[in-house]
Subunit: 225 residues, 2 copies
């Protein structure tokens, strides 16, 4: 950790600080097992503030967070995810049974559930979006990743559930026309963090080698590094 | 920072570690001003490893990184971004001149330029994407946010440029059919980090209040917290 280009040294964090950031990145997991409990109000504020400090295209800040506090609403949300889980399983073909054995959500078990939605009126924001309108989603995903890392360092698990029909969920939450839900975040205390991604532990998929992800100058040219 | 729910304490990072993670989140900036230099090979590996440790929908890892090493290719890329900058400015209407005064890229100045692309064959991945196929982009954005935070703690600036025509850039990089470029990342040493987001310093846009981003149970219900 002491091999930085000397020119960048004054702006770099200390070795201990860098280790903490890399630890959060390495130990963050997409959690589906929660142990109930609560998230203290001030912790929740820190997490939301971390999300809100994400970068956004043209500084549009296209994220809204809906805290699902009502038990009754949680049950409705859980039902919507269950419906999509079954439809997804059917679309899986030969992996249907294997998929159905996976735990994919913690909507009823997690201390907190946040729905993240893109707000209406996004078409007014042209900066960085004329040819790539989906950069609003990219910005909101950066906010969610900030929240995820902050949660990990607070000792809280988080899972991003995308098993839902966005139109049905928009209806359920009375979203205005043009708003779109993109995430159901389950958040809260856990008994333990998975040592590796749960889908890897369950042999659903394996981590690829970084060397296969990096090319030089054009597609498919392996990097020399 | 010592007000965690006691039940989560054993899994939480130390106060110093948490402060480092929040520091990275708070001090990360979308940089457009670079001071040349180089990024040491081992630092680049740490940054790419951080990106590769992002969450991804169904563990699909839909990110590929193309390092633009050739000066000639960089010049071609810079030209493509300039073209889109002018087209975006025209689409801005009354803010055209104001937009043209902003610095929006560092493709020729940054020590490193990485193009991030979604790989081909994504339609095979149904997990979490049957109703939300764009979750591949969301995962890649989480990887970019990891890279951004890691760069900040290494003392390196990064900017995400989305001013390009994705079809033209795909051609330029000889991407296979079905792959899509989503980011031109400028990365490297900087003289200083902006104290606040550059678009805020330049009065292009202002940071919204967090209280306006958080609702309770359904859209538009202010959170009581």
């Amino acid at each position: 950790m002491d091999t930085n280009n000397p020119a960048t040294e004054p702006l770099a964090f200390s070795a201990e600080e860098r280790a903490a950031v890399y630890r959060a990145i390495d130990e963050r997991r997409d959690m589906r097992h929660f142990s109930g409990g609560v998230v203290a109000q001030e912790v929740m504020q820190r997490l939301l503030q971390a999300a809100h400090h994400a970068p956004s295209v043209g500084l549009m800040q296209p994220w809204r967070f809906i805290r699902m506090q009502s038990r009754e609403r949680r049950i409705g949300l859980h039902r919507m995810v269950e419906q999509e889980r079954i439809l997804t399983a059917r679309a899986m073909g030969e992996r249907e049974d294997e998929f159905m054995r996976l735990k994919v959500q913690g909507v009823l078990d997690a201390a907190e559930v946040l729905v993240v939605a893109l707000p209406p009126g996004r078409e007014q924001h042209i900066f960085g979006r004329r040819t790539l309108p989906e950069m609003d989603l990219a910005s909101a995903a950066c906010a969610i990743q900030n929240l995820w890392l902050a949660a990990r360092c607070e000792g809280l698990g988080m899972g991003w559930v995308s098993l839902f029909d966005p139109a049905a969920l928009a209806d359920f939450l009375a979203l205005p026309t043009g708003a779109k839900p993109i995430a159901v975040l389950c958040l809260g205390p856990v008994d333990a963090f998975y040592a590796a991604p749960m889908l890897q532990e369950q042999k659903w998929a394996a981590r690829a080698s970084l060397a296969d992800m990096v090319y030089e100058d054009s597609w498919g040219q392996p990097s020399v590094s």
